[in-house]
Symmetry: C2
Subunit: 233 residues, 2 copies
């Protein structure tokens, strides 16, 4: 009995980079649930057509009448409701506060990482996904992928500065969830796992408390994330 996860993959089946899928892979590892993470590409909309929406992560819970759930937030809520042991929403980081963290991460952390690695993502895509990715992302950013990353080096100090609230928290607590990881950690780690999978770029100084936290997250769950294809970070 396993949970099937449709997981965005690059040209190599095992190179998985979606920050939203990473949240869920870490959440499933957190709960110790068995996962069958099927590689999926942007242009394989038909494969998840049963959800009547176009995005991953999508899970199908074979232990629960093949229940399908999509959207990383809704999947996290589903997992805690269905498998309440080892919760994702904890005493230290409950649902509403984690929602705030997610809203912050998607407005600050994600765009900051994208600015650094968007062209690296493109370069790791399956051939059949490249036109789709370039067209949709260039529309969002209002410029070419090359232009997005052209000023990446200049933008790096501002990216690191933007992590100040995370850094302050990680100077006080080992994880965003306190002594142990919570879904807030999975959300934040998703953005760094996205970069690690596709980019050689150094995003964090080695003396940054966020760097040390990322190391702890790479080591969590028997080194699950560290064992996946990616670059040295």
């Amino acid at each position: 009995m396993t949970i099937r996860l449709y997981d965005l993959a690059g040209s190599e089946d095992e190179r998985r980079f979606s920050p939203f899928c990473w949240r869920i892979k870490m959440a499933l590892a957190h709960k110790g649930l068995t996962v069958d993470a099927t590689p999926w590409r942007f242009t394989e909309k038909d494969a998840i057509g049963f959800t009547e929406q176009p995005r991953v992560p999508v899970i199908v819970d074979t232990a629960n009448s093949d229940k399908a759930v999509w959207d990383s937030w809704d999947i996290a809520l589903y997992l805690d409701k269905t498998y309440p042991e080892t919760p994702l929403f904890t005493e230290n980081s409950g649902e509403a506060a984690t929602y705030f963290f997610k809203a912050w991460a998607e407005r600050t952390l994600h765009p900051g990482v994208a600015k650094q690695v968007l062209l690296d993502v493109y370069n790791h895509l399956h051939d059949k996904d490249r036109d789709y990715f370039r067209t949709t992302r260039e529309k969002v950013f209002g410029m070419s992928l090359e232009d997005v990353v052209a000023t990446a080096d200049d933008a790096l100090p501002a990216f690191q500065a933007s992590l100040a609230p995370m850094r302050a928290t990680l100077e006080t607590y080992a994880f965003l969830g306190g002594a142990t990881p919570s879904f807030a950690d999975h959300i934040a780690f998703g953005a760094f796992a996205w970069a690690r999978a596709v980019s050689e770029k150094t995003l964090l100084a080695s003396d940054d408390p966020v760097y040390a936290w990322r190391e702890r997250m790479l080591d969590q769950y028997d080194g699950f994330a560290r064992g996946t294809p990616g670059y040295a970070v």
Copy 2:
């Protein structure tokens, strides 16, 4: 048996504006504890000399051997430990996640509000506090109080945009703490109560979910905050 709070006041004893003191007044109201909020001015360092540090809020818990606690975060932790009923750190917004919120608020919300109301704060100060305030704040901002607020109108859209993670949360939950307020709400409300006490400035559009939340916070605890001196917001 009451808790004595040293609470920053303006030229009028009852006009209380410190965002950090507001956190604690809301936290004490949340717990239904009886408070004696003593007016205190910046230059009355001697009055809190027993803490060997210069800032308010300071509480003295007359029900607990006159235990003195300072720093708003440490006071909140003390209150939940000593008076665990009606917790400030809740299932929906626990300690570590609220620490992240505090770190965000102090880096985004507080400077944004200061940019709008810093000169209004000055204009409501007790005469004896004005030189101290001008000197210390102008050093922090690297410019005159007048120059800080000179571009306030131009900065207002960016301030409102900076609230996006709060707004997203308040579109989903009634409070940052979910269905009921938590200390995260007290932290955020502190910044708006600070502005309300001293400034006629409109910080929020009336159709903003953050505006509706601020109204709910003004109404909380039998309208405690709404009953204090301030401007229409």
